[in-house]
């Protein structure tokens, strides 16, 4: 995802000199091309995320298009009030790009995890919230973020995600993508954990359960229709996120279902109001928190069949 982000940013920056890059002591080596090609449009603010975000709002106020980049957890939590007051309240054209969302910094633990960021940020007026599932999502999202005249938060994973799509798709802001169709149940997912959900769905196929997998790359505005269709057509909706079940995708879907008055089977899979347990590789930490493909398959089977 990171390479897809940087390549797209580079491409856009070449075309539009209003684009500037702001980092907060994160992005060693990976920003070298940008620095080389646009030295006057690259600023490292050091370890001061809040300061960077507010300065970005000032730059946007002068017509520039700042892309602020650092670790998601530090952006979302450390600079939250600055995102709120300087960027969103003043409706400034700032793009906030977080790297290492979810439990990507698996060896470092919860200080570096962004597992409550969606819940925090989606409540902010004027902010568009993107959560890509694959490099192709990232590419489309960065182009969309550039076109949007206003605040955007983009929740990136890291840099080794597999591509979920076989080919280019018709990307629209606020329109969820069906990665795999099915009639028995729907799994709605956001972020890079979509790859695990696809694996889990394939395992469910072997058990005779044909699940639909819906990838929500835009959390705000949210594709309510996709949820309503899923509930009506499949009768069961499960959400999966590498995030707390409080305030994230599961909560958004619950809000949609409650207001639509559709009775359906529903369950939120994610961190159950806790910080992620354990250290290890990304796969190991997911496993420790029952968010790997096997655990997801097992959980959904149990929920769906009462096994």
């Amino acid at each position: 995802m990171r390479t897809a982000y940087l390549n797209t940013l580079q491409e856009l920056a070449r075309k539009d000199e209003r684009i500037v890059s702001l980092v907060a002591d994160n992005g060693l080596i990976v920003y070298d091309d940008f620095k080389r090609d646009f030295p006057k449009r690259y600023f490292n603010f050091g370890i001061s995320e809040a300061n960077m975000v507010a300065a970005a709002a000032g730059m946007a106020n002068c017509g520039q298009i700042p892309f602020c980049y650092t670790i998601s957890a530090f952006l979302a939590y450390r600079s939250y009030e600055f995102i709120r007051n300087d960027v969103c309240f003043q409706n400034q054209n700032v793009k906030i790009v977080g790297i290492g969302s979810g439990v990507a910094y698996s060896t470092l633990g919860p200080s570096h995890h962004a597992t409550e960021d969606i819940g925090l940020l989606r409540g902010l007026p004027n902010l568009t919230v993107f959560s890509p599932g694959s490099p192709l999502d990232v590419r489309n999202i960065i182009h969309a973020a550039y076109e949007i005249q206003g605040p955007v938060y983009i929740r990136l994973g890291t840099n080794n995600e597999q591509e979920l799509y076989e080919r280019e798709y018709d990307f629209k802001v606020g329109k969820a993508e069906i990665l795999k169709d099915g009639r028995d149940l729907t799994i709605i997912v956001t972020g890079r954990i979509a790859a695990d959900v696809l694996k889990a769905a394939k395992k469910l196929e072997k058990q005779g359960i044909h699940g639909r997998v819906v990838n929500v790359h835009t959390l705000k505005p949210f594709d309510k229709e996709a949820v309503i269709r899923a509930a009506e057509e499949t009768g069961a909706v499960y959400t999966v996120e590498e995030h707390s079940i409080c305030g994230g995708l599961g909560s958004i879907v619950a809000e949609v279902l409650a207001e639509s008055r559709i009775g359906t089977k529903f369950y939120r899979i994610g961190l159950q109001d806790c910080f992620a347990k354990g250290y290890g590789t990304y796969e190991e930490v997911k496993k420790a928190n029952r968010l790997d493909a096997d655990a997801l398959c097992e959980k959904i089977l149990k929920l769906h069949c009462g096994q």
């Binding site: 500037v20 006057k40 449009r41 600023f43 603010f45 050091g46 001061s48 809040a50 300061n51 975000v53 507010a54 300065a55 970005a56 709002a57 000032g58 730059m59 946007a60 106020n61 002068c62 017509g63 520039q64 700042p66 009030e81 600055f82 007051n85 300087d86 309240f89 003043q90 409706n91």
Partner: protein, 274 residues
């Protein structure tokens, strides 16, 4: 009118505005009157009141949003909006709130209110002007109490690092904050030494002396360094019983106190609508 008369008129407008709105940080506004008067009325800032978004304007960010009564009084005085609008302050339908809001009020350059934001925001503007090769100057008014916010020092470091010699911070050094004396709540030995050690070009001035402020702010920037002006002021300046008294951060005068204000600021009762 003499400067003295203009200043009295501004303080009078501040009080009438707050009185009619039934709210406002009076003392915070009174301390910053001369600073804003010099910026807007003594040729320091370039601006066009009838074209508030004029591309070549200088920017003035009121980071201590609690001083907005003074900002509104000045902005209306120099023609950004009619003085009559002051009468709507903090009332339903008004664009003049208890903290300034960008986009709602012509001449207001930032939404502030939560302290420790304005300097970082202004720094971004100053950086953009540098990148764009523009000559606009950027001014920020902060409070001394506001410097307890950590973000102020993040920006103090980075504005110096980025060599923003188009940025001037004026600290309204009124020595009081909501709950008492700044020196007692969070003592700082020497403001000048602190900012100077962060790489700023520091000067100290009497924040109620128009000529001194004009001379100070009219000076050329030192190349490559942002400028920090410590403007020594009195919180509540202009109303005897408010001066140096912390409670006037919040309070509005009772009937007895009102008579004193009316006398000292030479307000006619009809100007207060009573």
């Amino acid at each position: 009118m003499t400067d003295k008369e203009h200043l009295k008129q501004i303080r009078k407008n501040i009080f009438c505005t707050a009185y009619k709105g039934g709210a406002g940080h009076l003392a915070s506004a009174f301390s910053v009157v001369e600073i804003l008067y010099v910026l807007y009325c003594k040729g320091i800032l370039n601006y066009r009141p009838k074209d508030p978004l004029w591309e070549d304007r200088d920017r003035m960010i009121m980071s201590k949003g609690q001083g907005c009564l003074a900002l509104y009084a000045i902005l209306s005085k120099v023609g950004f909006f009619p003085e009559s609008e002051l009468n709507t302050f903090c009332q339903p339908g008004s664009s003049l709130g208890g903290e300034p809001k960008l986009g709602d009020v012509p001449g207001v350059e930032a939404s502030t209110g939560s302290l420790g934001h304005g300097l970082s925001f202004a720094q971004g503007i100053a950086m953009a002007y540098k990148t764009l090769g523009k000559k606009n100057q950027v001014y920020v008014v902060i409070g001394d109490g506001e410097c307890q916010e950590g973000s102020v020092w993040e920006a103090a470091m980075s504005a110096s690092h980025f060599q923003l010699d188009n940025l001037t911070v004026i600290m309204d050094n009124n020595k009081l904050q909501a709950m008492g004396k700044v020196s007692e709540l969070m003592s700082i030995e020497d403001w000048g030494e602190k900012w100077s050690s962060f790489g700023w070009d520091v000067s100290v001035v009497d924040g109620h002396d128009v000529e001194a402020l004009k001379n100070c702010l009219g000076q050329e920037h030192q190349a490559g360094r942002p400028r920090f002006v410590i403007a020594d002021t009195v919180k509540g300046k202009g109303v005897s019983f408010m001066e140096h008294v912390p409670i006037w951060h919040y309070r509005m005068p009772n009937e007895e106190e009102l008579h004193v204000v009316i006398e000292e600021l030479e307000i006619k009762k009809e100007e207060l609508g009573i």
